[in-house]
C-alpha cells in the first residue's frame, strides 16, 4: 500500500523528494489512515458494539445498560446452548474434513491435468462461488428432497421402491449440503497449495525410483497438506456461522449455534444474550484462524 503511494508521488522523485518530504510524509500517513482506518472503523466499531452489548442485559424486553457477565454465565449454565455449541463445532469439523477429502481429490485431479483443460475445469469447479448461496441451498434441497432428483434416480434405477426421506431433513442432509456448497472454498486453496509443489520435485522423485504412489505419499501430500488444512479450516469457519443451511435442509435435526444466536434477535429482543453467543462464536473462529496461521507458518519455515 505504501509502495503505491510512493509510486504515485514519485513521478519526479528528485523534485518531490527535495521539495516536499513533509508533504509526502503527510500524504502517506493520510493514505495509510484511509487504507487501514476505514476498514478498521467499519469492522471494529460493529464488533465493539457487539462486545459491549454482550455485557448488558434485558429486563422485560428492554436493554439495561449495566455491566454484567450474566449472559456468559447463562451460556455456560444452560446445557442447551453449550450442547448446541459443541454439536455445531462437531458438525463444522465433519464438514471441513469432508470438504478436505473431496476438495483434495478434485483439486488433485484438476492439478494433474495439463494445458487449457486444467484451468477450464478449475474455473468450472469454482463457478458455484458466484452463485447465490440461497439458490444453492434450494438446488440441494431439490436434489435431496422427497421428490428430488436423487430419489427419482434411485427409484428409476430400481434401487428403492419409493422415494426415501433419508437424504433430506436430517443431519446427513446438512453435512452433504454444506460440504457441496463449501467445496469450492476448499478446492481453491488446495489447488493453490498443489500448484506450489514444483514439477521438478515430482521429476526428482520419479528419477530416484519413486513410483507414482510413493511420490504422492512422500512428496505431494506432505508439501500440499498444510495449505489444504488451512483451506479446510476456512470451510470450518464458514460452516460454524451458517444458520441457513441447517434451517433449510436439517429438518428437526438442523438446530445449530448460528440459529441459536439468530433466535435471540427479532421477536425475542434479547440482543445482549445474542451478542454474547455471537462473541463466543467469534472467539472460536479467531481460535481456528490462529491454528490455520500456525500451520501455514510452520509449513513455510520448512
Amino acid at each position: 500500500m505504501t509502495d503505491l503511494s510512493l509510486a504515485a508521488s514519485g513521478a519526479d522523485p528528485a523534485i518531490a523528494g527535495a521539495r516536499a518530504p513533509h508533504r509526502r510524509w503527510l500524504r502517506r500517513t493520510a493514505l495509510r489512515l484511509a487504507v487501514y482506518g476505514v476498514p478498521a472503523l467499519l469492522i471494529l466499531v460493529p464488533l465493539a458494539t457487539f462486545l459491549v452489548y454482550s455485557f448488558w442485559t434485558t429486563v422485560d424486553g428492554r436493554v439495561v445498560q449495566s455491566f454484567t457477565l450474566a449472559n456468559y454465565v447463562d451460556f455456560l449454565a444452560k446445557p442447551v446452548y453449550r450442547g448446541v455449541f459443541t454439536g455445531t463445532l462437531w458438525l463444522a469439523s465433519i464438514v471441513a474434513t469432508t470438504s478436505l477429502i473431496f476438495g483434495y481429490i478434485i483439486a488433485y485431479l484438476v492439478w494433474r491435468l495439463e494445458g487449457r483443460l486444467r484451468y477450464f475445469l478449475l474455473l468450472l469447479s469454482v463457478i458455484p462461488l458466484a452463485m447465490n448461496y440461497i439458490v444453492k441451498i434450494y438446488a440441494m434441497r431439490n436434489i435431496l428432497g422427497y421428490n428430488g432428483s436423487l430419489n427419482w434416480l434411485l427409484v428409476h434405477a430400481g434401487l428403492i421402491e419409493a422415494p426415501s426421506k433419508l437424504f433430506i431433513f436430517n443431519q446427513t442432509a446438512v453435512m452433504i449440503t454444506m460440504a457441496v456448497i463449501y467445496l469450492p472454498y476448499a478446492i481453491l486453496p488446495i489447488f493453490l497449495s498443489l500448484e506450489r509443489v514444483s514439477p521438478s520435485l515430482l521429476a526428482a522423485s520419479a528419477d530416484l525410483g519413486g513410483r507414482p504412489g510413493q511420490t504422492f505419499r512422500n512428496v505431494v501430500l506432505p508439501l500440499s497438506l498444510p495449505g489444504s488444512i488451512v483451506g479446510a479450516l476456512f470451510v470450518m469457519v464458514l460452516a460454524l456461522g451458517d444458520y441457513l443451511t441447517p434451517q433449510m435442509v436439517g429438518g428437526n435435526q438442523g438446530f445449530t449455534f448460528g440459529r441459536a444466536i439468530w433466535s435471540q434477535f427479532g421477536m425475542a429482543f434479547n440482543w445482549p444474550f445474542g451478542a454474547a453467543l455471537a462473541v463466543v462464536l467469534l472467539l472460536s473462529v479467531v481460535l481456528i484462524i490462529l491454528v490455520a496461521a500456525a500451520i501455514s507458518r510452520h509449513a513455510r519455515v520448512k
Partner: protein, 370 residues
C-alpha cells in the same frame, strides 16, 4: 541404424559401450526439436553435451532420463531396449538444474530418498548416506533443511542424492549454471574428481565451452537440434568439422576454400593447397586454423607436413604471455589471419607493415562442412 558406425567408436575411446542412442529424435507436432541422433556413451565416461540454448541438448538428457519419450529411435542400455522403461525403473539418476531438493526433508532424508524408494533396509540407507555425505563434504549438514544451505551446498546434496543409489549413469542438467564464477570453478574440479573416483558414467549438459573442454572425456556439440560433432576436447578444438564448431570455441581463422576433385582430391585455400585428410564431405567450402597453430619461421626450415608463407604484418596486440598479430596473406590478398604467439618468440624484430614468414602444420588445417 544400429549397425551404422557410431561416433563413439570413431573417437577410439577406451570405454566399453554402455548406452546406444539409435536414431533418437524428437518432434512436437511439426516442430522438430532434435534431428535423429546416433550416439554411444561409454561406461565410466564423462560425456558433455554442449550447445547454446535451444540446441536440443536438454532434450537428449530428458529422453535418457525417461522424462520425455523420443519420437523416433530406440535407446539401448547394455544392448537392452529401455526406450519405454518408466523413469522410476531406469538405473539413472539426475542432478537437476534447480537441484529439486525436497524442501520438507533434511539433507540426510533427501540423500536417502532413492534408497528408501527402493525399500533398502534402514541401516544400509544410513550407512550409504553417511558415506556419500562424507564424499561431498557435507557430513555436518545431515540434519539441515535445503533452505538452510548455500547454493554450493545444495548443489552437492543434489549430487550426493544422485550417486547414492550407484546408478549406471548420472545425468547432470546444467548443474553449475546457478553458481558464481569462483564456486563454479571449484565445483568443476570437485565434480571431475568425484567422477574419476566413482567411475560412473556422467552425462553432463552445459553451454559453457571452457567447462566442457576442461571436464570431459568427450564432447557432443549441438546446434539447432542437430549434433554438429562428437569428439575429445582436443578433436573438437583443433579439428572442427563445421564452421559452427570452429567458431564456438575461442578464436579461429576461417578461410574460404575450394575442393579440387579427381583421383587425388585436394583443397585449395588462401593457405595454399593441401591433400585432404580422409574423405572430403560434400559441399566443403572453408578451412579453419587456430591462431596459435602458426609459428614464425623461414620457408627453408619447414619440416615435412609443414607449410610456410610470407605475409605482411597489419597489427600487433600485446596480450601479456601472448601477442596477437594480424597478418595479410601476401600483398593484395583479401585475406588476413590472426596469429597468436608466445610473446618471447616475437623478439624485437617485427614492425607494422613489414614482411613476416608464417609456418604451420597442414594437420592443423581443418576442412569444414558448410
Amino acid at each position: 541404424m544400429i549397425g551404422a558406425p557410431s561416433t563413439g567408436a570413431d573417437a577410439g575411446m577406451s570405454f566399453r559401450n554402455l548406452i546406444h542412442l539409435a536414431g533418437v529424435g524428437k518432434s512436437y507436432g511439426a516442430v522438430n526439436v532434435l534431428k535423429p541422433v546416433d550416439l554411444t556413451i561409454g561406461d565410466g565416461e564423462f560425456l558433455t553435451i554442449l550447445g547454446p540454448s535451444g540446441s536440443g541438448k536438454t532434450t537428449i538428457l530428458r529422453m535418457l532420463g525417461g522424462f520425455t519419450p523420443p519420437s523416433t529411435g530406440r535407446i539401448l542400455l547394455d544392448g537392452v531396449d529401455i526406450t519405454d522403461m518408466p523413469i522410476f525403473e531406469r538405473p539413472f539418476n539426475t542432478v537437476f538444474q534447480d537441484y529439486a531438493l525436497f524442501p520438507h526433508m533434511s539433507v540426510a532424508k533427501n540423500v536417502g530418498y532413492g534408497l528408501k524408494m527402493r525399500r533398502r533396509p534402514r541401516a544400509e540407507i544410513d550407512a550409504k548416506v553417511a558415506d556419500v555425505l562424507a564424499m561431498v563434504e557435507l557430513s555436518d549438514k545431515a540434519g539441515r533443511y535445503p533452505a538452510e544451505l548455500s547454493g554450493g551446498q545444495r548443489q552437492r546434496v543434489a549430487l550426493a542424492r544422485a550417486i547414492v543409489c550407484e546408478p549406471k549413469v548420472v545425468l547432470l542438467d546444467e548443474p553449475l549454471g546457478a553458481l558464481d564464477a569462483e564456486l563454479r570453478r571449484s565445483m568443476q574440479d570437485f565434480l571431475k574428481a568425484l567422477q574419476r573416483r566413482i567411475r560412473t558414467t556422467f552425462v553432463f549438459i552445459t553451454h559453457d565451452q571452457e567447462e566442457a573442454i576442461s571436464m570431459s572425456d568427450r564432447i557432443v556439440v549441438m546446434d539447432h537440434g542437430k549434433v554438429e560433432q562428437v569428439g575429445t576436447p582436443k578433436d573438437i578444438y583443433y579439428r572442427p568439422q563445421s564452421e559452427f564448431v570452429a567458431k564456438f570455441f575461442g578464436e579461429n581463422n576461417i578461410l574460404p576454400a575450394r575442393l579440387t576433385a579427381g583421383a587425388d582430391p585436394a583443397i585449395e585455400s588462401p593457405l595454399g593447397g593441401h591433400a585432404l585428410h580422409g574423405a572430403a564431405p560434400a559441399g566443403t567450402c572453408s578451412v579453419a586454423i587456430r591462431p596459435e597453430s602458426f609459428s614464425l619461421g623461414e620457408a627453408a626450415n619447414t619440416a615435412a607436413g609443414q607449410r610456410s608463407m610470407v605475409g605482411r604484418l597489419e597489427s600487433l596486440t600485446f596480450l601479456g604471455a601472448t601477442t596477437q598479430l594480424v597478418v595479410r596473406l601476401g600483398d593484395g590478398s583479401p585475406h588476413t589471419v590472426k596469429v597468436r604467439l608466445p610473446t618471447p618468440d616475437l623478439g624485437e624484430g617485427v614492425g607494422i607493415g613489414e614482411a613476416v614468414s608464417l609456418r604451420w602444420s597442414t594437420a592443423d588445417v581443418s576442412v569444414l562442412n558448410a
